[in-house]
């Protein structure tokens, strides 16, 4: 089991309602989530804005510390592990971000961006590792000397993917990585991710607000609504017979490119 998550709670102080003196009231973001991510699985995490899906991702990567519950990553409990002990493990779980323009340093070239985490983890043979990562995401090696602003949106997102896989992680979290892309590059990035998962034997969690992009990729989907899991189902089952009312609402709200789709 790659991840075993039990009874996970997270609350954060609500600074907008903090009194002048004294502690801010806490708002519950995640309310008792329990689920597993088996090795090699591709898990979809779906929900509307404010449902807590990105926060859940951040807790899984221990960018946030849970208030209660437990996170077990590949047999190791990382719920409250401190940053120093966590650092060597971080190589094993990586993230790809939504907006490649703000998650790639505009002042560094592509090789610096991909090589940065490699150097941080003290790996050798940077040059060849960077080249290999570029090969895997289908970018020419010559791109190593370009700056992010010289790339198209789809190419930038490939650099984000290359940075994550260069470390050879076991698990990758992809947070809304295609929502800023045009449909044509969306398809390319999703197909690439699917190939990489297969070739590298990755475990992947794919966060999205759009159910239509994840049908192909994901084997299982959990639907979040207001910090709760309202549905946890096999992909095919979720699409053919959604159980939760909220899932049905989400599905029906997707505008299909079909003038005859019922829309009321």
């Amino acid at each position: 089991m790659m991840y075993r998550i039990e009874n996970l709670h997270l609350s954060l102080p609500d600074m907008t309602r903090k009194p002048l003196l004294g502690a801010a009231p806490r708002i519950e973001i995640l309310k008792s989530l329990t689920f597993d991510v088996p090795k090699g699985a591709v898990l979809g995490i779906v929900g509307g804005s404010g449902s807590g899906k990105s926060t859940l991702g951040r807790v899984m990567l221990r960018l946030l510390e849970p208030t209660a519950g437990s996170i077990v990553f590949d047999g190791t409990d990382i719920t409250h592990t401190d940053e120093v002990q966590l650092r060597p493990m971080r190589r094993r779980f990586q993230m790809i971000f939504q907006d490649p323009m703000s998650s790639l340093n505009p002042r560094r070239r592509v090789d610096g961006i991909i090589g940065g985490p490699l150097r941080l983890h003290g790996l050798d043979g940077l040059r060849s590792r960077v080249d290999e990562a570029l090969d895997m995401v289908g970018l020419p090696r010559g791109f190593a000397h370009r700056y992010p602003h010289e790339l198209s949106g789809g190419q930038r997102q490939r650099v984000g993917i290359a940075r994550a896989i260069a470390l050879r992680p076991d698990f990758i979290l992809a947070d809304e990585i295609v929502s800023g892309l045009d449909v044509s590059s969306q398809a390319q990035v999703l197909n690439l991710l699917e190939d990489l998962v297969r070739e590298l034997g990755l475990t992947l969690a794919f966060i999205s607000h759009d159910l239509s992009v994840i049908r192909r990729l994901c084997s299982r989907i959990i639907v979040l609504h207001q910090g709760l899991i309202v549905e946890d189902a096999e992909t095919a089952e979720l699409f053919t017979s959604p159980k939760a009312a909220y899932t049905r609402e989400l599905l029906q709200a997707i505008p299909l490119p079909d003038p005859d789709q019922p829309w009321d």
Binding site: G48, V183, S184, N191, R216, L250, L251, I254, P255, D258
Partner: protein, 289 residues
């Protein structure tokens, strides 16, 4: 019927000569919704900006005509043009957070245009604003008028921009990706609201979007753009049943749909892109000659 907005052979270029729009023509009749579809950089937003006279400084209109309610906007003096546009057209922008002033309450942001530009009295404008907020289904409009933008959700903010676009009863509405920042359930409500408001006010609506799914729900007709050139112009139903241009077909195939059991996605093939690029080059050659 004479179209309310008629764009004829509009060309827009960078001041250094690079073409942004290539001979774009389209018509929108009163009470109709026309979609502008294309990938990022295709120039779809620039058409709306040309009509509203809000093109970025680096761009200029190099040719063509923009007929709005029987007058060619490009042939009249700028002061008159601004007055006409202000009285007949309005914009629903993409991002409600940047379109609203974070330091002012909602109320004055809706009424200011009515008072300062159209010369309404403050009381009239106030009453109209309340009426509009009710029309866009905002509960407790009097309270919302006193709120600041950050106190409202994304969907609420978009409703307010819709209300404020319809405030001066414009005959032409330009909606520039109005739902891209929203999640699907809120998007559905907002699309329905825009369609209702448009039908009730009988305005002509130019709807800019990259999402063909959205087009099939709100538009009567559409133009598909590539590199500032209209590659296909069609009635909505015809487009989705029988898209003619290979690029349109590829775009449709690349649109993800959850009803497809394999869920496979077809990127736009390089051959299609090469072909449409060649068309653009040919167009430029003919145009320069």
């Amino acid at each position: 019927m004479r179209p309310f907005l008629s764009i004829r052979n509009l060309s827009v270029a960078l001041k250094n000569g690079g073409l942004i729009l290539r001979n774009v023509s389209l018509d929108v009749a009163v009470g109709k919704v026309h979609g502008l579809v294309g990938e990022s950089g295709a120039g779809k937003s620039m058409i709306g900006k040309s009509v509203l006279g809000t093109l970025p400084r680096a761009l200029q209109i190099t040719g063509g005509e923009i007929w709005l309610d029987g007058v060619d906007l490009l042939s009249i003096p700028p002061a008159q043009r601004r007055k006409r546009i202000g009285a007949t057209a309005a914009l629903i922008p993409q991002d409600p957070l940047t379109a609203l002033n974070p330091t002012r309450r909602i109320g004055p942001q809706i009424t200011r245009r009515l008072v300062d530009i159209l010369g309404w009295t403050k009381a009239d404008a106030q009453a109209r604003a309340l009426e509009l907020l009710e029309e866009v289904q905002i509960a407790d409009p009097a309270r919302v008028m006193r709120n600041y933008p950050h106190e409202l959700s994304g969907g609420m903010r978009q409703r307010i921009l819709i209300a404020s676009a319809f405030a001066a009863k414009p005959k032409l509405i330009i909606a520039d990706e109005p739902t891209t920042a929203l999640d699907v359930t809120v998007q559905k409500q907002i699309l329905r609201l825009i369609a209702d408001m448009q039908a009730r006010h009988g305005s002509a609506l130019l709807f800019v979007t990259h999402d063909l799914g959205v087009v099939s729900k709100v538009c009567d007709a559409l133009s598909v753009l590539y590199a500032g050139k209209v590659v296909e112009d069609a009635q909505m139903r015809r487009f989705f049943c029988r898209p003619v241009h290979p690029y349109s077909r590829a775009l449709l195939a690349a649109t993800p749909t959850y009803t497809n059991p394999t869920g496979s996605l077809m990127p736009v093939p390089q051959s299609v892109i090469d072909a449409v690029e060649r068309e653009v080059v040919q167009h430029d050659r003919r145009w320069r000659a």
